[in-house]
Assembly symmetry: C2
Homo-oligomer: 681 residues x 2
């Protein structure tokens, strides 16, 4: 320290600017590059997310290839190639070699990438750990050749530096991008692996075709499950609810609209003509004011008026939810082998708004099968269709699940821990701006509005779980009763009839009397690969004392309803894109039985466990072997069924305990009663 | 979209640069400003951390005032004032109004602030939520007046904008800074409050004086517990271990040293003359090469040589550990009211290195008292002397605690959850670069080297816990035995003596025979506030069959050893700064008892539970009512004691079961044996 320098000057002389690239170089754990395993995943994730975003923006069904090869101890080459629109030569260096540069940051709509950091961070990391440049190939449709660039990120200036450049013919590819990075990384399967990430991506992006080539040469393909691109989210202005004073001031100051009225209706969303009048009246403005001329108290008054005025909810156009149908489909695709006994109808909440940004929450819940019963529930977290694999403990999704009281819904739980049980929960948050806890985008921060929505969605799913569990208990009891009756009654009847010298009575009627249920039984299939069964029989029997008007619905795997699918009697409706089959209204007298048969599409192998059977027209207390039609079918039931339900015809009092009657059955009385019941009908 | 524009051009036109301030404005949860409660804490924390850093760098004992006042619903004014060196006028705008600008980012030593983001982020947040500028007063010693500036952060350019400026006389303050911010925030006490943050700061910064004024006017002062400033961490060059290839290349390229030899010894730390020769020989260099002239394979060879060469560990000069003594003191200060039964000797690990950055881990562990026995352990996390209050679930400290098997150490634990028990664990990580998971600096990222050190430190503390728990069990058994013997023997002796017509024998000798322990009893104190006791008696009795050479040590509260403190017999050593008292070697024959008395310093009220008693010269199996001297005392024991311990004189075989003898005591035989023992001595 020079003798004459004062302390304050000495301290001041140390102050200096920090390049954003230097900052992230020194804090690479913030970007998700803190250990070789996580660094590999982050690299793959940033590249694939970019590819999917680019394809969808350009209206192209994504076809993404990920190749990982080992070059040495902890040294991997990662290549990601897509069929997207490609990147113009002039933008390539900045897109890949500059932090905080991108196309999606300033747009207010759902996208995987939002920060303009991800892929450049991977390039930075490659340079830092292996001193190799990124190798990029890009072709746009209009150019006959592809550009080839080798570039590095210069951290002290946060700018790209091109090391080598060329052009080439790129096979028959119309357009696309390929990036190759050599990084310090470690490949392993299992949790938090590129395999898991791509599998999760496939669940929530069923329109994508994803291929992974692992270092040992194993090639896995996740095929497209639907040829439909999700609708492209539209950019919308921010919604006034949740805007802060400073934000509103900035927006007013930077507005290009001539009047306050136009600012409110064009620079914000949700402000209808009626709301506008309301706002202006409340704040005491005419609407003709110059938005750039408002300051201090005037803006505070405006903000108060905005907060007080009821507003249209934000448009969901800027969001791209997965939807209940595809959530269920995605879960079934992945969970098939573990045969869960129950898929709760997925929940897709309506959009809400936080700090002017619309968002929505979707939840899927699966119970039973081979899910471990004594472990914490499995949680699949997704943000804007991207699986989140790290930082589970830091995530608002995890915390919201843990802080709900799951004991109310039939699961074990220690205070504030994940509940325990054979359950898998999928939570998807879609937003124009996901509040990630860090640039690594692995955990969502706690925000009251958001956690409230997650909680509501979870509660809806949990209520269905509870319903299922109590239904399961009730059904188990009914099935036990049914089994006992069917085993004991014939022997009892035979013996008694012999003793009194009378013919054996019609047992179906007696069963009807005791059981008071409609039963559904499904048979068929078979696991023998040499002669795969392709037919299933569904038997429906009315063991109640009334004639029933019922409808039968099946949900089968998509491939089952392809060419070759047959239903006998012919189904009234087959929706192949949803795997749904239904028949016309069906009339069943007491003790009457009807049989339905389906034949699988050619090539598909039938497994009766893949068939979900639903029955409408009888409440679930009187239904055995099938479920009531869930809400997500959204079927308009015939008036007769609705009427029956409204009349509450099933709510007859409890039957006498059959166990008490076993010893002393009065067949005559039984028959008499039955006749009375029939006459009533 | 203009008709002639291609898709690729359209997409390219959307690409643009993102200002770092815009980025953080949109992602303010990353900086710790995502809800009003957390935003308040982050604001206080950033300001206080800066104040403490500045004071310590300038060699000033910190005196920091935090005032929080309520201006309206969710609108708070936060003022933080320090007695630091102040900031020169020309640096004020950049320090407070520009992200990624600071003095500590490029220096390689421990500091609270490292990123050059914190306080400017608070200014950004204030502007965003309340549209008010930051109000800053700063005075350096050399200037008679203080500068007063009102400034805001212009997010689109990430530059400060001065709104108003003035100078003023600032009372009798020599130097210092005061910042006032108006923010959207919510004040509450409890977990994650400014109160908790300052309390935690006081624990690990006992040299600071902190004052908090809450919105309701409550004023809390945490006084300095020591007048000694921690040693100022020195800046050192990075250590070669853990350097990546790309990092090494950059350092070579930007080196100002003329030769490779000088680069290695001056631009890196830990490279001794001997290591240098080794490195050069391994890599095949002379040391005369120009560091900027090395490329490709040459650098790879150099890196291999650096990795293969044994190197001096990094100097700890760049770190400022709290140290075992102050950890214990800090914990005792805070936990006093809950009277823990055991403070494990704090663990302070030697420095290690990760990616060229030295770091070290310290752990304190407390057991029992009023800590809840059926709750997860309480975890106090600290990074560079700063309490971490949020994101516990995301932190490597938490995960390391949860993944250790605590059942081995006597605590309950579900797999991979925090253990359950009346335990509080303090973990402090000190590093030249803490790998935080985000800019909010609330959780530490998982890094193998770091978690390994945390684990080792926790294991050391846990072993002491286990020792304590088994000692406690053993002692409880011994005490029970002692109590029974003291109750039964006199009655037995009286009755038997009466029967045989002999006098009652000396029971101490019999007790000695049966117990074979040295007992320590402490009496005194009392909780009556009207007549506070100021004296304590320590009675030490040798109920073993040998003459003992012992030393007695006390640890008492610091204030107890102030003026007025007396020890009778006079203590051989009193260390008031550590609250430690010890006496000279003490000789106790079998059955002999000695009494020591201490008198508290005037004004201090004695509580015997505040006195820790340690005895050297007898192993813990033969000691009742005191603990063996713990390792952190670092006392050189007299040769006689060491010798005795080495000869293992206490390891006599087990005594006959006293229970079997109770019915049939042969007093003569007992006395004979006692005499033999005495002669042996």
């Amino acid at each position: 320290m020079p003798a004459k320098r004062t302390l304050a000057e000495e301290l001041a002389s140390r102050q200096r600017e920090i390049s954003v690239a230097e900052f992230f170089e020194r804090n690479r754990q913030i970007l998700g590059f803190d250990n070789p395993q996580r660094a590999l995943l982050t690299t793959v994730k940033e590249a694939v997310d970019n590819s999917l975003d680019a394809c969808e923006e350009a209206g192209i069904l994504p076809d993404v290839l990920v190749e990982i090869s080992r070059l040495g101890e902890d040294r991997l080459k990662v290549a990601v190639e897509d069929n997207g629109p490609g990147i113009l030569r002039r933008e390539i260096p900045n897109v890949f070699g500059r932090l905080l540069y991108g196309s999606r940051f300033h747009s207010n709509r759902q996208a995987r990438g939002q920060q303009g950091i991800g892929i450049s961070a991977a390039v930075l990391y490659a340079g830092l750990t292996t001193a190799t440049p990124a190798h990029i190939i890009s072709k746009v449709r209009e150019s006959p050749t592809a550009n080839v660039l080798d570039l590095v990120l210069d951290t002290s200036r946060n700018l790209p530096r091109i090391v080598a450049e060329d052009v080439m013919l790129w096979g028959d590819r119309t357009s696309g991008v390929r990036i190759e990075l050599t990084i310090r990384g470690r490949y392993q399967r299992g949790r938090q692996s590129p395999y898991e990430y791509l599998r999760g991506t496939a669940i929530v992006n069923p329109h994508s075709r994803l291929v992974l080539v692992e270092p040992d040469g194993t090639r896995t393909t996740w095929d497209r499950a639907t040829p439909e691109l999700p609708k492209v989210p539209q950019e919308i202005p921010p919604h006034p609810h949740g805007l802060e004073l400073g934000e509103l001031m900035q927006r007013l100051r930077s507005s290009r609209k001539p009047t306050l009225g136009e600012f409110l209706t064009s620079d914000l969303s949700g402000v209808t003509r009626r709301a506008l009048a309301d706002i202006l009246a409340r704040a005491g403005f005419t609407g003709k004011e110059d938005p750039r001329g408002l300051h201090g108290e005037a803006v505070e008054k405006l903000l108060e008026a905005l907060r007080a005025t009821p507003m249209a909810p934000p448009s969901a156009d800027c969001l791209s939810p997965i939807g209940p149908l595809l959530i269920k489909r995605g879960l079934k695709n992945v969970l098939g082998p573990i045969k869960p006994e129950f898929y709760a109808p997925p929940v897709s909440r309506p959009p809400k708004v936080h700090s002017g940004c619309p968002f929505l929450v979707e939840v899927g819940l699966v119970y039973g099968g081979e899910l471990p019963p004594d472990q914490p529930v499995q949680l699949l977290r997704f943000a804007n269709r991207v699986p989140l694999l790290f930082q589970q403990g830091a995530c608002a999704i995890t915390n919201t699940v843990a802080h709900m009281d799951w004991r109310r819904y039939g699961l074990e739980q220690k205070s504030s821990a994940l509940p325990v049980g054979p359950v898998l929960i999928l939570v998807h948050v879609a937003s124009t701006k996901i509040p990630f806890t860090s640039e690594a985008k692995e955990a969502i921060a706690e925000q009251e509005d958001l956690t409230r929505e997650i909680e509501l969605a979870l509660q809806a799913a949990a209520r269905n779980l509870k319903l299922h569990l109590s239904r399961r208990t009730r059904r188990a009891m009914a099935q036990e009763k049914f089994a006992i009756i069917r085993r004991i009654l014939p022997r009892l009847a035979e013996k008694t009839s012999g003793l009194v010298g009378k013919p054996v009575p019609d047992l179906d009627r007696v069963i009807t009397r005791i059981m008071d249920v409609v039963t559904v039984e499904i048979q068929g299939g078979g696991k023998d690969p040499s002669s795969p069964s392709r037919e299933a029989r569904i038997e429906i029997t009315n063991y109640t004392a009334r004639t029933r008007h019922l409808e039968l619905f099946l949900e089968v795997p998509l491939e089952a309803t392809g060419p070759g699918f047959r239903a006998d009697p012919p189904a009234a409706s087959v929706q192949p894109e949803m795997g749904r089959v239904s028949w016309d209204l069906l009339k069943l007298s007491p003790s009457e039985r009807k049989v339905f048969q389906i034949t699988w599409a050619s090539g598909a192998e039938l497994d009766p466990e893949d068939v979900d059977v639903f029955v409408a027209g009888v409440d679930e207390a009187h239904l055995l072997g099938a479920d009531p039609l869930p809400g997500d079918w959204d079927v308009r039931l015939p008036a007769a069924l609705v009427e029956a339900a409204e009349k509450g015809e099933d709510s007859a009092g409890p039957l006498p305990n059959p166990g008490e009657e076993d010893e002393e059955v009065d067949y005559d009385a039984t028959e008499r009663k039955e006749s009375v019941s029939q006459n009533e009908d």
